[in-house]
Symmetry: C2
Subunit: 394 residues, 2 copies
């Protein structure tokens, strides 16, 4: 066969170490080992029954044809209503775009906004697909190191240099993920407000990834639309509603963006999965049941916030959302003599039967010294994990 | 609100006129008019019952989590087996990538192959999403005018200039769609063989879109893999299996491409819709029932091949696949005094209750003089349409 020539940007894409951990964990399980799985970022409960029932109805009625590229009108209306109910924000259904997962939404907005070389600010640590998707359309991701001081979130202060008038290219967009993956932290209101003003003030856009909204503890995440009508908001059914494999998300865009997004969506996707769209019509009525899952996660979170520091893991700022703890492993590395988070994760998996994810998956800033624990799991399992780690670390 | 600045490439994306026709047709239907719908490109039969049953089982077992990015192993194996059964070609399941529709497959392969400015040859007329998807990753589509002489397909001869050694940038890829949308024509074997040799001989790739395979009349479409193991083959469940809204496709790539495609798929999609993947496991066993639908389409095709020329529509080369006829409307335009295919389509819809698509949706080469009829419809409806057009054209 011929030697394939890949696009240069492929060399810049890093594989996800979590996938390696996941494969290794499964291999060990196949050998009969018991592994506590804290590596992947997937809710551990089943799809809400009313959603499954709506999907069955869609099958019975064979509602499986292409839909309009922006989504079925009923779902766009239901999503718009959700903003009224949940946030008290009026959103016209015309501004709602149904997408194949939040991944699809990011592709659309990057496609709409970015010419080759256009710059997008994002936090390091952060969700690793963002920079790769920016590169996919030949944009330039600008990774901004963030720390507990800014709640691991972007701020106007951190972007000063990028936004300065003398910076020839400015920023086309900045991405905020609140609650954050991997840190579980929320952006404070004032920080969001000044960030929006700073970015929009120089003609850029804030893209607010709100996928973990609903999964918060003792506080409520506010949508960026409460702060600016120009904010671009992305959300979906995967996390709070536990509908990962259905591949359904949405985006709220300014009215002037709708036509461009529609044309891109026609070309890139045709439409989002039809059965999922009809099923999701029932999701918003399940919020009560979802909140029970969140209460369960909170017990897990509180347990780990006590247990992990006892093992030597540092938690710089209390995570109040999502189902992740991003822990500083410096002390544990020093105690074990292991070189970095990657080595720690592999050793903990092999020697202590605990799977979690090295920080390297989420950026380059101090990432070798960090690891991420996902606590979307049974509390009893998490307790086993902490006992195993305690015994292993001695 | 701020004035949005879109990426420059957005201005190059044309809206689909078929969508305008579709909306207009629906609006007229809502007013109580009867419209014969020949504009969209969607099978007119329901999802095969065994596929629906498999989807119900997936719901019962709540198989709705993320899957591996390359697809569930059972489906990759079933697709590989299909190549053995259908074409007598051995394909390793490791080379099979499950994608969210063929749209997803095209995004992946363009992402893998194209750096900014890399050139992709495609036929004009052709499927309009190709050039837009190439532009999305900042590649450069090279539209090659094709005519009945080459069966509306690319050929080595037509690409001579683009492939000449003195052409600094060569071609990174050439797309073949056989059977073709919008022309319904197949590429002759010898033409495919010389095209593959010419493109691969200068280090490029032939991407073979085989989505309409199975829907052929009196002949069998051959996969590009029968001619070259370096061919990149894209196919899906939407057309032959009638599963449009399930959003499920696949791609066969050379072994060296799998890892890069996997990384791109993780970043762009995470995974294809899970329920659709489990449902599709039953699709290949439905080929017999699908062939009955194809036999029905063939009756429609034969009817239109006789009826359309009587109305003055020219058919340059007999379409032997898909469910489209791409007709030269020069004579009809001259008779009616209408300016172009767009005006003809709008007038035929409003005045004769017949919806079909202007050629402009498919390119720029003589596209104003052409229209596309889709015959995935009831024969009785097509007869009504031809009678109405006959009366209207006088």
């Amino acid at each position: 066969m011929m030697a394939m020539q890949w696009a240069k940007k492929i060399a810049q894409i890093q594989p996800f170490y979590v996938m390696e951990m996941l494969a290794k964990a499964k291999a060990l399980e196949a050998q009969g080992r018991h592994i506590v799985r804290m590596e992947a970022g997937e809710p551990d409960f089943t799809t809400p029954a009313p959603v499954l029932a709506a999907a069955r109805l869609a099958l019975d009625e064979d509602r499986t044809r292409y839909t309009p590229s922006l989504g079925i009108p009923e779902l766009r209306a239901a999503i718009a209503q959700w903003y009224q109910t949940r946030y008290g924000v009026a959103v016209s259904p015309q501004r709602v775009v149904v997408t194949p997962g939040t991944s699809g939404a990011f592709q659309l907005i990057f496609g709409l906004l970015l010419d080759a070389g256009d710059r997008v600010a994002l936090s390091d640590p952060g969700y690793p697909c963002y920079p790769n998707m920016v590169r996919f359309v030949n944009g330039e991701p600008v990774a901004i190191p963030v720390s507990p001081q800014s709640h691991y979130q972007l701020s106007a202060e951190l972007l000063v240099e990028q936004l300065a008038p003398q910076h020839a290219r400015g920023l086309k967009a900045a991405i905020v993920t609140s609650p954050s993956n991997p840190t579980g932290t929320l952006i404070p209101d004032a920080q969001m407000q000044t960030l929006l003003s700073a970015v929009e003030g120089q003609g850029g856009y804030v893209i607010s990834d709100e996928l973990y909204h609903g999964i918060t503890y003792g506080c409520k995440a506010r949508t960026a639309l409460e702060f600016s009508e120009n904010a671009i908001v992305i959300n979906g059914f995967s996390k709070y509603f536990g509908m990962t494999g259905w591949r359904l998300g949405w985006m709220i865009v300014p009215p002037s963006a709708v036509r461009g997004i529609e044309m891109l969506s026609q070309n890139l996707f045709i439409s989002a999965p039809t059965i999922a769209q009809y099923a999701a019509l029932q999701a918003f009525d399940c919020a009560g049941a979802m909140d029970e899952q969140v209460a369960r996660y909170d017990l897990n979170r509180r347990y780990l916030l006590t247990a992990l520091p006892k093992l030597g893991f540092g938690i710089g700022v209390e995570p109040k959302g999502a189902f992740y703890i991003y822990a500083d492993a410096t002390q544990v590395l020093s105690k074990t003599g292991l070189a970095n988070g990657e080595a720690l994760c592999m050793a903990a998996l092999e020697q202590a039967g605990c799977a979690f994810t090295p920080g390297l998956d989420f950026g380059r800033y101090r990432s070798h010294e960090h690891v991420r624990f996902c606590y979307a799991a049974e509390l009893a399992q998490l307790k086993i994990a902490m006992e195993r780690l305690a015994a292993w670390l001695g």
